[in-house]
């Protein structure tokens, strides 16, 4: 381009608007059809409706109908003309609350009409509104496809409005009838719609209500000029969704209830307040500062407070939030005593809820702004910071103000920063109080301007302070625990120490309680140690008992183990070589060999149980019938060989008190092998086990039909090396230790073992009693 070109006279041009813009705006401003419908519901709310019903008919395929009916203020012709029909109307920017109930307006950009365009090809709008002391009805139809084709100048398309007077009794409101719907609504879409609408409410309504009330009060107290005192009492807002005429009953109950929130380890409240600050010249000026309050639920002390003098939050006075912080540890999620029927939250449940609902949400005028606090959203950068192990302080507290207020948190306290799944929170802001905060035109985000950055910092600094404070507190607790464990005496000594501290008035009640709790915990640990030693002692006794069992097993295993599989293979090979008339005999041999093999498996399995570490180190309440059955399996070979009948009379569900499984086997094995020896060679060879439980404890009896034991020997045979057993070809000679071992083992549980009179039809009965509350 050069200077010597000649130009014609300037010509006037102006912008024109293509009618395709309506579609384009609808498509681009409202991302999802469910969000478009939600916008229409919000419009009803803004129009002071107390009820809105959305009916969706035939929407499983394109061409259905959606009817949105509300009982709000309705729309006069003037309002239709200057509001609805004018694109980018500033109406809601100047008017920030509804005229009747003084509700903060939720739809701020006039997206509703585009939402209607987004949803269907036709729209019929009917309205009844108050106008100059009479009711005015109007009806207008938009055939988007036919009347507003792309390429046509939007401002030249006439829209015919029918206006008529209606009786005064006719209620006000708007009915939007959207027909020829564009989208196919699946159940998934309906679920998303419900979610969007329900999410307008809070998952923790009490918290949001509380914060919202605080916010409203703040407006009334500090900014009375912004309140319309003529506002009527707001009776609330009810929303119903009907699909093909049927109300959709959606059970949306939030799990983030008091039950969970009560288990938070820390609760942080924050608010931007106006404080007086003296400047360099000695004058006083007002600035907006963050005031935080932290309640550490494990600490009995007063809530901690912090006035953040390092940051000024311009334009955010009155903004407030609450964050609950969780640590998913077993001791933080105990049931209450009677909570079995109270839907308590287990650790796993809490972790799941944290995963699904954790995060800090933002509420503008009481309505949720997406996606803040959604799964995957990390607007506070908690996940990102925690994942990288970076110091949150360098990001949000570069001046070190917060750090300087904490002692004892340690240099790596930032590593304790909670992730989003560990916090539940709500931030409340108001478009009246905080006009600097704006909603993005997509309706799904706040405009990320300086004010938003400040809001973010407000919460981040609070969370950072909470993290350091909580870490300092837990370190202090751990230090106390460490010192006590280091000097751990025997359990009783520790308990004495705890008792003396409990009575010491020189220590503050808070510290006293903390110390006593810890010391008693140490005593319990000492007891556990002691239990381990007892376990070792019991092993020695079990080994003595194992002699009896090994006598049985060595006999059987010598015969079976080495050759059993080879015999089977030989037999199978032999069978193939023999004429078929011999097969039955071979098959019988094979059956017996397999039987032996099975027996070996049972024996070795039993030995494994007896000697497995868990059976000696973990006390369990065992199903006694099952235990008796297993001992019977071990002895089955003997029982079959010698024709002894065994009867297990134990009830199906009877359980022992907490015992070491190996010890119970040892007791039963000794008693049952004695019974087998006693019946050996008798005509009536029966052995049985009875068991029951009474108010004192667990009782079982081992019975036999053998030779009997004179009463004068009933006690003597419990002495070491005393035996009345007859030498047995399989079970060997009694060692005289079996009953001694039984009594020793049982006495560990505070129990007894003795001979008693046998029930009818039985000759001998040994009764074992184990109290319900066995000593630890």
């Amino acid at each position: 381009m050069t200077d010597d070109h000649d130009f014609n006279e300037p010509e006037k041009v102006s912008f024109t608007i293509d009618s395709g813009l309506l579609f384009q705006l609808g498509e681009e401003l409202v991302a999802r059809s469910s969000l478009a419908l939600a916008e229409l519901v919000k419009n009803a709310y803004d129009a002071d409706a107390t009820e809105v019903t959305v009916s969706m008919l035939g929407i499983r395929k394109p061409g259905g109908r959606i009817i949105v009916r509300d009982n709000g203020n309705g729309m006069t012709l003037d309002e239709l003309r200057s509001g609805w029909m004018r694109i980018a109307t500033p109406g809601k920017r100047t008017q920030t609350y509804s005229r009747r109930f003084h509700r903060p307006l939720t739809g701020a950009k006039g997206v509703g009409r585009f939402a209607a365009r987004r949803l269907g090809e036709k729209l019929r709008l009917r309205s009844v509104a108050e106008a100059n002391n009479h009711k005015e009805g109007l009806e207008v139809t938009f055939d988007w496809t036919h009347d507003f084709p792309p390429g046509k100048e939007l401002t030249t398309i006439p829209v015919l409005v029918t206006q008529k007077a209606v009786p005064a009794s006719k209620p006000t409101g708007v009915v939007l009838r959207i027909s020829d719907t564009r989208d196919v609504w699946t159940n998934q879409d309906l679920r998303v719609l419900l979610r969007d609408l329900m999410s307008l409410q809070s998952p923790f309504p009490d918290l949001v209500q509380e914060l919202q009330t605080d916010l409203e009060r703040s407006v009334r107290d500090e900014h009375p000029d912004r309140i319309n005192n003529e506002a009527e009492y707001d009776p609330g807002f009810k929303f119903t969704l009907k699909v093909d005429g049927e109300p959709v009953v959606e059970q949306v109950t939030s799990e983030v209830t008091e039950v969970l929130l009560a288990r938070a380890v820390a609760v942080l409240d924050g608010e931007v307040v106006e404080v007086d600050v003296s400047d360099e010249t000695g004058g006083i000026s007002k600035v907006a500062r963050a005031a935080y309050k932290l309640t550490l639920t494990q600490s009995k002390g007063k809530p901690l407070t912090l006035l953040d003098e390092d940051v000024t939050y311009r334009g955010l006075i009155g903004a407030r939030f609450r964050v609950y912080m969780f640590r998913y540890e077993p001791d933080k999620f105990r049931y209450e005593a009677d909570a079995v029927t109270d839907n308590p939250i287990s650790l796993r449940d809490a972790q799941r809820i944290g995963r699904e609902n954790g995060g800090v949400r933002i509420y503008l005028n009481g309505f949720r702004v997406f996606p803040y606090g959604d799964q995957g959203d990390d607007w506070l950068e908690l996940d990102q910071t925690a994942a990288r192990n970076t110091n949150f302080g360098t990001v949000v507290d570069s001046g070190g103000f917060i750090q300087s207020k904490i002692e004892g948190a340690g240099s790596r306290a930032f590593l304790q920063l909670p992730r989003n799944n560990q916090v539940f929170g709500a931030v409340m802001i108001s478009s009246r109080l905080h006009p600097v905060i704006g909603v993005n035109v997509s309706r799904e985000r706040l405009i990320e301007n300086d004010a938003f950055a400040q809001l973010k910092l407000l919460v981040q600094r609070g969370v950072y302070w909470m993290t350091l404070r909580y870490t300092a507190f837990t370190r202090q607790e751990q230090e106390i625990k460490r010192l006590e464990i280091k000097a751990m005496p025997l359990p009783d000594v520790v308990r004495d120490l705890a008792d003396s501290i409990d009575k010491n008035p020189a220590i503050s009640a808070e510290q006293r309680q903390m110390l006593v709790t810890e010391l008693r915990s140490v005593a319990r640990r000492a007891e556990t140690e002691l239990e381990t030693h007892i376990g070792e002692l019991s092993l020695l006794r079990i080994l003595a008992s194992a002699g009896t069992m090994l006598a049985i097993m060595s006999h059987q295993l010598q015969v079976l183990v080495s050759g059993v599989s080879h015999i089977r293979e030989d037999l199978e090979r032999l069978r193939q070589d023999l004429p078929s008339k011999h097969w039955p005999a071979i098959d019988e041999l094979l059956r017996r060999v397999n039987n032996w093999q099975e027996l070996v498996t049972q024996q070795t399995g039993f030995l494994n149980i007896l000697l497995s570490p868990e059976s000696r180190t973990r006390r369990r309440r065992l199903l006694f019938k099952d235990i008796v059955g297993k001992v019977h399996d071990v002895l089955r070979f003997y029982l079959e060989e010698y024709g002894v009948k065994f009867q297990n009379f134990v009830p199906d569900t009877l359980r022992t008190p907490p015992v070491f499984e190996a010890e119970l086997y040892a007791v039963l094995l000794n008693l049952m092998s004695n019974a087998l020896k006693a019946v050996h060679g008798h005509k009536d060879q029966r052995v049985g086990v009875l068991a029951r439980r009474d108010e004192r404890g667990f009782i079982f009896q081992v019975l036999d039909s053998g030779k009997g034991l004179p009463k004068e020997r009933w006690e003597v045979v419990f002495d070491p090396l005393e035996t009345d057993s007859i030498p047995n070809p399989l079970l060997g000679v009694g060692t005289g230790l079996g009953l001694k071992v039984v009594r020793d083992l049982v006495s560990q549980y505070g129990g007894t073992a003795r001979f008693v009179d046998a029930p009818a039809s039985w000759v001998t009965c040994v009764e074992v009693f184990i109290p319900i509350n066995t000593p630890r």
């Binding site: 159940n187 998934q188 287990s346 995963r355 099952d626 569900t653």
Partner: protein
């Protein structure tokens, strides 16, 4: 199967005598004409492994028996399995062992070895039908995975047939074995010298050092096969087996397996790799279909209450309800982990019998199992529930 038999190599040190377990196992595998199992002595040189043309490999764990020349190999079957996994990653490997005393080793191997399955020889012979079924499933599953060219997350989702976004998300979160792809020059660095310090570093350190976050991720056949078998198809959450699906819908397993119900849920069936052994259904798709039936039937109530009523209204076929194993009440929508029977949530407790990923549904144990089953372990309930377990037990005394 395209007329070709499944070629199975069985590496065992005792193949000379006809009466060995190896020969017996070969015989039971070859009972089915689909298979051609061949016994192979342990190779003295691992390079031979590359030449093996096979569909699956069985390896005996103990290869210490000398051959007829008195020679024996100096490695275990698990070592050979590792080598084969590297050289032929698209072939399934089954480790066999005959010694009961080695059960503890099996536990360790199950967690750490490269074998896809471990079977005791005696159990292969005793349960030959089941063994062949699993072998077939593995061979076909590995084939389908190996044929897939698109080794990205999306490629895998397409192969599996995961359509629903929720299912894809769950699959991603369930420990999906995606690994960053090594660059070409990474692959050739077998050993090296640290560029900064000059010190020699083992290959794995070198790979990690050169592994760039920007590198695309990809999956490997054996890893995905294991993930599918031991996670996706093992725990309810992304998929359901028939018993769990039936319980979720509030109907008996027999009703769920009826032709009418099977036809309804045919599109929700998992048809991806390793689907041959036991049928599974995509959870999300199954529930969506069930919801459609409920909406069509205009019945109300929770899913297990509403589905059978709706199904009867829409399809004219009555369903037997799932009955709670504890009190016989209808519409039991959970499965007792111990008894494998339907149970009401109110008649059961959360149970933690395994290390399933958190995206999977939690296991539950019925009050009946708690009371009567020796397989129930009170240590596996939530610590807060233990007092309640005690209460249950005390009620029975």
């Amino acid at each position: 199967m395209t007329g070709q038999k499944f070629k199975v190599f069985y590496i065992d040190d005792q193949i000379d005598s006809i009466n060995t377990d190896a020969n017996r196992i070969r015989a039971v595998i070859n009972t089915d004409s689909e298979f051609d199992c061949e016994l192979v002595p342990p190779p003295d040189n691992f390079a031979k492994v590359l030449e093996w043309q096979m569909d699956a490999l069985l390896v005996d764990l103990d290869l210490s028996t000398p051959n007829t020349h008195g020679q024996r190999v100096s490695y275990y079957g698990s070592t050979l399995a590792s080598e084969i996994r590297v050289q032929q990653p698209n072939r399934p490997i089954i480790l066999t062992t005959g010694q009961a005393k080695e059960r503890w080793k099996v536990q360790v191997l199950d967690d750490n070895s490269d074998a896809d399955l471990i079977w005791f020889k005696g159990e292969i012979i005793a349960n030959s039908d089941q063994f062949r079924s699993e072998l077939r499933n593995l061979i076909l599953g590995f084939r389908r995975l190996a044929e897939e060219q698109n080794r990205t997350f999306e490629g895998l989702m397409t192969l599996l047939g995961a359509e629903d976004e929720d299912e894809k998300r769950l699959l991603r979160e369930s420990g999906l074995p995606l690994r960053r792809r090594l660059k070409e020059d990474d692959a050739i660095q077998e050993t090296g010298v640290d560029e900064d310090s000059g010190a020699a570093v083992p290959p794995h350190s070198r790979l990690r050092k050169r592994d760039e976050k920007s590198a695309p991720t990809e999956w490997q056949v054996p890893n995905v096969a294991r993930w599918l078998r031991t996670v996706v198809l093992e725990y309810p959450g992304v998929t359901y087996d028939a018993a769990t699906a039936a319980a979720r819908l509030g109907i008996s397993k027999a009703s769920f397996e009826s032709p009418e119900v099977q036809a309804l849920f045919a599109s929700a069936m998992y048809r991806g790799p390793l689907s041959e052994a036991r049928p599974h259904w995509w959870r999300g798709q199954l529930l969506l279909i069930a919801t459609d039936v409920i909406l069509a039937g205009k019945t109300h109530g929770t899913l297990p209450e509403a589905f059978s009523k709706a199904f009867e209204k829409v399809h004219g076929v009555a369903m037997d309800p799932s009955l709670c194993v504890v009190d016989g009440s209808q519409g039991a929508s959970w499965l007792c982990h111990v008894l494998r029977q339907p149970v009401q949530i109110a008649n059961s407790l959360t149970y933690f019998p395994d290390a399933r990923p958190s995206v999977m549904e939690q296991a539950r144990v019925s009050f009946k199992a708690i009371r009567t089953s020796p397989l129930f372990d009170e240590a596996l309930v939530d610590p807060q529930d233990r007092a309640f377990v005690e209460q249950l037990w005390d009620q029975d005394q």
